[in-house]
Symmetry: C2
Subunit: 377 residues, 2 copies
């Protein structure tokens, strides 16, 4: 059989057709179903954007109302899921808990064994609502706070902040969070989405695919980057260090600075533009520009020294911190958003499926290596 050797990490290899997301890495363009991310960030909502990702077009008013209603109806968790969230130690990371809870969800989902297009859409509504709930509820439980009931009158963004904090979020917080959800909703064949498609391509169910995607997102080379950025900002602030000197020292020690550079973008990540602006606005409104200022100085230095641009993760760190969100919820929030894209990709994969099964280049001991009995080894 003929084989072709791909670059390491499948870099630059087109693994599938998709009509969901178009990226021009050289021009710094990100679009969902052809609509520019800047338009969506400025004018759309997470609900509308998710509709666009799942159904390929923007909804009219009736469709949007129906969509929001279905999301709100999905804000129910089987008591067994709550039981799991209560049973794990408070020290469990939210990503471990989310991955486990989403896997458990499938056991209580009546459509589990049905991979049809319609069943996948039904499960996607529930997964989108339930992932946000799981993150909020586990955070309440681990902090010994009461669980906040979902409010069907709230948007997806507002309901999450409500269930997380137990108080109705401000319009600014809701809109900021909503934009963050829009910006993270999809990104073509990023590692977690690709993992979801590889799993779905065996005709495994959507819960299996999303469980795997959450596992992939958990990795520090993927979802974990903004956590690392925020830890860097905290470390610099705690030491009262000069950020440029601090980063210079890290470079001297061959350490990587998280939140810079991207496999696909060779110019500014278009999502970073919005997160930078939101970080600045929230900081100024709060009268505390510490994290934004530090971020800006690091960004300028890394750009000058390494010619690397800030990516989506760099300013989401300070943005989420200004929203009062704990550092170990940054990656779960990524999942709360990316479920919309994961679901779109699993639905697309199942609609026109082929098993994803590449080959490996064997570099081990030559065949046939001898089998010697254990007594002779």
């Amino acid at each position: 059989m003929s084989t072709a050797v791909a670059p390491k990490g499948l870099e630059g290899i087109v693994a599938t057709n998709s009509s969901i997301c178009w990226i021009d890495g050289d021009a710094g363009v990100l679009s969902y179903r052809g609509i520019d991310i800047h338009e969506l960030a400025q004018r759309s909502t997470f609900e509308e954007t998710t509709y666009l990702l799942w159904f390929g077009k923007l909804p009219n008013q009736a469709e949007l109302a129906e969509f929001s209603k279905k999301l709100a109806e999905g804000r129910k968790l089987d008591p067994k899921i709550i039981e799991l969230l209560r049973s794990v130690p408070n020290s469990a990371t939210p990503m471990q808990v989310l991955r486990t809870a989403v896997s458990l969800l499938s056991i209580y989902d009546a459509d589990e064994a049905d991979n049809s297009h319609d069943a996948n859409v039904r499960k996607s509504y529930r997964l989108t609502s339930q992932i946000a709930m799981i993150v909020a509820i586990f955070d309440r439980i681990r902090k010994d706070k009461n669980i906040v009931e979902a409010d069907p009158s709230l948007s997806h963004a507002a309901n999450f902040l409500w269930m997380l904090n137990g108080e109705k979020p401000s319009a600014t917080a809701t809109r900021t969070f909503d934009i963050a959800l829009i910006l993270h909703a999809d990104h073509e064949l990023n590692a977690s989405t690709f993992a979801a498609r590889v799993i779905a391509a065996t005709l495994a169910d959507i819960h299996s695919a999303i469980t795997g995607a959450i596992g992939a997102l958990k990795g520090p080379l993927h979802g974990g980057a903004n956590e690392a950025t925020m830890r860097l900002l905290y470390a610099i602030d705690k030491e009262g260090a000069d950020p440029v000197e601090y980063v210079k020292q890290m470079f001297a020690e061959k350490k990587k600075i998280s939140g810079f550079g991207h496999r696909v973008y060779h110019t500014e990540d278009p999502r970073a533009t919005h997160l930078r602006r939101m970080s600045e606005e929230l900081s100024k409104a709060a009268g505390d520009t510490r994290w934004f200022d530090l971020s800006q100085r690091i960004e300028a230095f890394v750009k000058q020294e390494k010619k690397l641009n800030a990516n989506v993760d760099f300013y989401s760190a300070s943005t989420y911190t200004m929203l009062g969100i704990d550092i170990d919820l940054f990656t779960p929030i990524f999942a709360i958003s990316r479920i919309s894209g994961w679901a779109a990709h699993v639905i697309e994969q199942h609609d026109d499926n082929r098993l994803i099964r590449p080959r490996a280049e064997y570099v081990g001991p030559a065949y046939p290596a001898a089998y010697t009995p254990v007594s002779e080894r």
Copy 2:
């Protein structure tokens, strides 16, 4: 950026180097670390084969004893895992339960956050022992039977059968099962292993990778095939139908026959050779050759009509049935074996990592598509 379009499903694309498994699909050769699968099936054990997969060489007597001891020491489950297995409904499928339980295991694994080579090996011992235990214990629980304590004096194969059935397995049953574990232990970049590597390549932990792999294995195009084969045999037997006529009718209805053909092999799957022989031996020893005879007639007809060879799944169906194993445990048993290969691949990925992130060919609405306000849609 330059991209290259791969065939659908990444067929024939070399996605990575690996020194674990070499397959020659045209010659029908499968080898682990260069050693032919026929040698291993005839002369090795699952413990020895797993050592070979993880450490790249066959163990000497002391190494093998130490390895077996560590596997036996891994036969411990946190009570919280048992609690989960007791809390899910009996109707949950073993694969849903296994996927959830393995994800939960990570919360109780002291090495969870450590992706070093040594920690990955430590976790691999535990995962190998614990996956087998989870499958056996959940099966006992759902049948209202008592949980059987692990026996550290038994081999991996014998201990699983012991914990599953509550009686010490015969030498024949143990050896048959042991060979089945050897045959399924690795298969290069099959879909579940590839999913595990995609997840691990974000530097996510091994539990995340294995959880995703279990999800992928669950799909009917991957682990589910021998279940489908056995359901076919049951259906033909129940109707008292002629197997050739039955399969002819399925072909006329454009139905797929599970257990035939393979993405990689274009000749007999070398694993099928052993499973056919074991199916025959068990059938003759039991004086009940019903499933073997049916299988043989179907195999001959499909070969003649479609030029398709039986693959690993076809004769594992009747082999497992002759071992008294329930049909919905076939895929979990695949996981009990394949964890050895999954672990080897995750360790190899982490040892020389690069993010696996291909591209998609965009075929959606042309960019820039207009964003129209909802009132105008």
